[in-house]
Symmetry: C2
Subunit: 293 residues, 2 copies
């Protein structure tokens, strides 16, 4: 059974009746692709109720970003979730999907909503440098959605790895009673990570977009197969060479635990890239274990 | 019965055993005076358990403020609460006071605590102008304490009126399950509002401190007894005259509901002053109903 709830009031009533059912939550901006669907699938497997929020959150878009043109496709999204529900053979079971798709911004930010939640140390790097205020918008809306949805588990894709770390730390610092579940990146056959922004790309840009994924893959291979003392200078060289292409916003590596520069005991390295194709900016990342001996 | 809890772990264990008891919360920086005591008294009256936190929160002090010298008097504070418990005739009853006095800063801000909670619209005025970051520190610590204490009611003195409004709005925006209870300002016989900072004053400064309270009282009388169209120019003149004394940080009036400039339908005016005496800065305020006809 799939329900669509268009206001917070409506949602609150729905929520009140869930008693002791376990609740999985997949917050999205809508325009669902296979990445999102993999989160919903995982939530369905592990919870009685799966709530998918669809809300294009103005606070996480900068003044010159694509808030206005961001694709709003509630009808299609609903159909995709219905199709998933059917294909997972859930019809007739107690498992339930609810779509929380607030009809207006006021549903999430009522009455001169004034709170801003930020995690400056984790935000002021990578995407945060090029998108000031973006992660404040993300943490604030995710907190707000958590406060409405009150899920047991929340599913986040690792494509937005920095976002995942920020929400994880927010949950910890704020002692929120939510378990965050990171899910692996979903990719097209040629390796490009699924993103709602891929559809902005021209044919040529779509071809060039592979530079992002391929470069990260190349770096990953070096780290994976080489002892770190040798890998580090090698990947520094790849990065320096790559950055001559000015379409890179950033291409770098950090400790995947805290986004700090890797230190001697760093176990898992995160490789992070952002690449501009015309007006479209895509991000991707890969994790790789460092080899010390 | 009075218990003292010195770590969050200890507190969590204590909290787990409270079942369905009602919990009143009085967050303080310690150095309790009659203002604080009036909050504790009110909480005792209305709740099974009253939790008084004593924590000098570094985040709410600016780099040139009195964090280091702020009086830490846990022994005296405990005695005052014991005395109150006795004088309120609570010995042998089920009513309980617990003092949550974290032994170190890490108890409240563990593991590179990174979250900052701000309410910029309410914070960037009055005390916020002269104390950048102060209210972020306040809302962040109060949120953190709420997340640990999980009270039903929280008591705040109206001397820090801006702080009260910020916490009230934070509770609302964040959908926190806490009822905020504002309590009237407690004053010395001569009218000076109780403050832990009063003890910093020299004899002469202590005498001059009355300028703060008296000026606010004078303005209040005008507003109370005069129709607003006439009161406004009269109080503007008092304020302009007063501000020639450069010891004022600010002296102004705002809508007490939202700290905006009063508009036609403003019901309750807030009169706000901050006054410097040597290194000490004192604040005070009064509320007064506007007379329109």
């Amino acid at each position: 059974m799939i329900e669509i709830l268009r206001s917070t009031k409506q949602f609150d009533i729905f929520r009140k009746n869930l008693d002791k059912k376990t609740i999985g939550f997949v917050p999205t901006l809508g325009n669902l692709h296979r990445g999102h669907i993999s989160l919903v699938k995982e939530s369905l497997r592990n919870n009685d109720i799966t709530i998918v929020s669809i809300f294009v959150n103005p606070k996480q878009f900068g003044p010159n970003e694509d808030y206005e043109k961001y694709p709003r496709t509630l009808g299609d999204d609903t159909n995709k979730l219905k199709e998933l529900y059917r294909s997972e053979d859930l019809i007739g079971t107690d498992k339930q999907i609810a779509i929380f798709a607030p009809e207006s911004i006021d549903e999430i930010y009522p009455d001169n909503f004034s709170v801003n939640i930020s995690l400056p140390e984790l935000s002021n790097k990578l995407c945060g440098l090029n998108r000031p205020g973006h992660f404040d918008g993300v943490s604030t809306v995710v907190y707000s959605l958590f406060s409405i949805v009150r899920p047991n588990k929340a599913y986040f894709g690792q494509k937005d790895f920095q976002q995942y770390l920020i929400i994880k730390k927010m949950i910890e610092d704020m002692r929120l009673d939510v378990q965050i579940v990171p899910m692996p990146i979903k990719r097209e056959v040629d390796g490009l990570a699924f993103s709602s922004r891929n559809q902005y790309l021209s044919k040529e840009e779509r071809a060039d977009a592979l530079i992002l994924t391929r470069t990260l893959g190349e770096i990953k291979n070096v780290v994976k197969n080489t002892i770190w003392s040798e890998a580090k200078p090698a990947i520094d060289q790849i990065i320096n060479e790559s950055l001559k292409d000015t379409r890179w916003d950033y291409l770098t590596y950090l400790d995947s635990k805290n986004l700090e520069n890797p230190v001697e005991k760093t176990y898992m390295l995160g490789l992070f890239g952002a690449f501009k194709l015309g007006d479209t900016r895509l991000i991707d990342n890969k994790l790789v274990e460092i080899k010390y001996a």
